[in-house]
Subunit: 496 residues, 2 copies
Amino acid sequence: MLDYESYKNQLRRLADVNFAAAVLSWDQETYMPAKGADHRASQLATLAGLAHAQATDKALGELLEKLQADASLDLVQQRNVQHSLRTFKKTQKYSAEFVEALSRAISEAFQAWQTAKKENSFAHFAPHLEKLVALRREECEFVGYEKHPYDALLDEYEPGLTTAEVEKLFDEVRTELVPFVKAIAACKPNSNAVLQKNYAKDKQWEFGLYLLRLMGYDFDAGRQDISMHPFTINFGSNDVRVTTRVDENDLADMVTGSIHEGGHALYEQGLPESEYGLPSGEAVSLGIHESQSRLWENNVGRSLEYWNTVLPELKKLFPEQTAGTTAHTFFEALNVVQPSFIRVNADELTYHFHIMIRFEVEKALIEGSLAVNDVPAFWNKRYKDYLGIDVSSDAEGCLQDVHWAHGSFGYFPTYSLGSFYAAQFYAAAEKAIPSLTQQISNGDLLPLREWLREHIHQYGKQYSARELCERISGEPLQFSYFMKYARKKYAHLYAI
Amino acid sequence: MLDYESYKNQLRRLADVNFAAAVLSWDQETYMPAKGADHRASQLATLAGLAHAQATDKALGELLEKLQADASLDLVQQRNVQHSLRTFKKTQKYSAEFVEALSRAISEAFQAWQTAKKENSFAHFAPHLEKLVALRREECEFVGYEKHPYDALLDEYEPGLTTAEVEKLFDEVRTELVPFVKAIAACKPNSNAVLQKNYAKDKQWEFGLYLLRLMGYDFDAGRQDISMHPFTINFGSNDVRVTTRVDENDLADMVTGSIHEGGHALYEQGLPESEYGLPSGEAVSLGIHESQSRLWENNVGRSLEYWNTVLPELKKLFPEQTAGTTAHTFFEALNVVQPSFIRVNADELTYHFHIMIRFEVEKALIEGSLAVNDVPAFWNKRYKDYLGIDVSSDAEGCLQDVHWAHGSFGYFPTYSLGSFYAAQFYAAAEKAIPSLTQQISNGDLLPLREWLREHIHQYGKQYSARELCERISGEPLQFSYFMKYARKKYAHLYAI
């Protein structure tokens, strides 16, 4: 047990450094004065260097090898050691030269992307994208994969996920969801005008805090602040912070954002405090993380029952803007299906077309079947095919997201995975809690939070995403749950 | 030059870690949710450990020895190396056992002090104070000193300051300031009633921001937040933050606090950005730091001219509370001289009696001429002698300050030094800027800030406190400047 204690202490020290960096990042996005940026960058780089040295310390590797052969460990401990050893071995594959080259390429690409987007010039970004793709292709080779090089990139965000699995999911999106959305487009459209009125910022802020409290977010173990892009960040499960933004002329932005981040935060607050710094104290994967935010945002937050609960509070704060509205008004407004260019503003159905297109681009780039210069044409054709719209500029097209400029490939699919997992988990919750819908109508959201804690949060990385999904629903991830959810919900909303 | 670059990089990396810890401390005092405390403590401890390892790295010591013999360095570089080598050598004298024993003793003493203060029981704190005094006495021996063991402790906060110098200053306080305050006590008292009205918190906050802007505090390189105890903290000279607190029934607390912290902050914002992490980018000493806060708080902020400038703004915010008042009303109110038990609430004259008493206690404890158990009687007798008041409880007496519970001995004198330096520097500024008083009356505070930047801030540790003082005023620190300032100012306020 002494070895395990020593391992635990080393991982906690590493977590201390990584969480310290997270505090600096949180501050950077919320309160840091403008001129603090330069030194903040060097402070973060120094902490990253120290964390890297700790994570790749040979003595840690030897300790992990020893512990892997230690039969006295219990199951949770074994799992922790397996995870840590896997991470350790993977980290060893990255040479200092590669890490430095990637870091430099990302810095340069990010600068170039900002200009390219502003000037609507894909050509300005192309050489940088070329460089990043080349580096990631190199990475796939030295990290290794079984069938498709892109598997190696997916694994970084969603351990064990394969390109073939993602393809199968999007095949179903293509054959089922695409025609379903086309059918909706043929119906009489709904209005979201109620969301586009003027809603004073301070009262929106208050409403957001109310929504978080309602979900059971613990404000003694977190707080909400304002940032340009909403995010959730944690420094241990007892300090999990969310941010939001407030647009005076769009209530939906703050509302869906706060519930979404609240869902992420409940996951982090529900991880076992005693496992601080260990894999069993960490979220399973980005896809599972996103399942928690999407479940709260979409399955709960965009439901009729939820608006039965929260509308009275909104009416108190905004009597004028909400005069004559019912829960159904907001249910309709928050679920208007409308093909559009911008992913982050998309409804919960067409959203997946945006992700599917990015996946198709990434996969083709990484396998070498698509040249960087052909990305805009490839992109635009698919927006026409799946969404039926003509992309008029690359700034609103393939340059819109920051991910590629950040060097992130393999990340996007976890967004769709999140929604699909959410549908599958929510179906299981409905089975387990027969009165769930009624509870939501009554404003009693804590039983749902407890169910998620019991079946997902408390385990950390003890189970893989696949194991977790099978334990909860009896089978691995199936797109059919999402489709079933969509068909049922949108039948209430459109004459379909 | 390669060696110097290498030295510079090592010091910057060390600064990165220390400033990262400072960000975590700032967050802890301002925004951290309650439950975040435990892991925050471990995050701070881990960063402290990493910083210590960097600061005591043998290779750094060897590099410093080599650089000390490098004739190609310019004067600033030489001075940096000297400072760093001195710090390095001093740090080497501390054994891991001593550091750990001290750290443990402080934690225990702090806990005990909180209880002792609450329960008014010196006996509960005494054994811990005993332990801390013993450790500090041990420290004096292994650190070394020339004449008095207490010199070794003073040096930590005010490099080069000796017990004999402090004694000489307080001899003059005793012979000049004590009778002066007695003479004031015999005069017709002034009223501070105008400060004790109800001032709404949000408007006080606004007034505080105005005061900081007026001083030339750069909000692009800093910000103000609320904390229980006001403080200034910096993460490089481009991110220097202040905090304040707002008492609805005491305007003086926020006003003097904001100006005081603003003075500290102007010093940090004025340090040379290019010398980040190096001694030439750091404040000289605590005494010089305090001279900047006191100069702004007392010489400027409690002057009649200053209130000519700021009263119109206060009247806009609080027309009712300030009806019928003039600048003189506030000048009087902020300078009421009144012996009292609590140091932090003292006026700027009797304040030094509080410090003098703490110095006498510390010196006697460290040289072994006073037993810990005799501290309360020793303390109470001096409050009677110097302030003419009877201390009724140890909670309001020798247990009032946290410093000893934090193991800090040698810190208190820098508070008085700050005021004395402020008087001497301010006299020099008045000589250099003949229209200074008029400028302050007109709200033009920037020439004073520039003078301080030019003569103090920009140098960092390039000059010692003594050198700086001689460059500015032609002589080392003299108490007479403070006494002259006091006699002139209080002649306007009392019939003396």
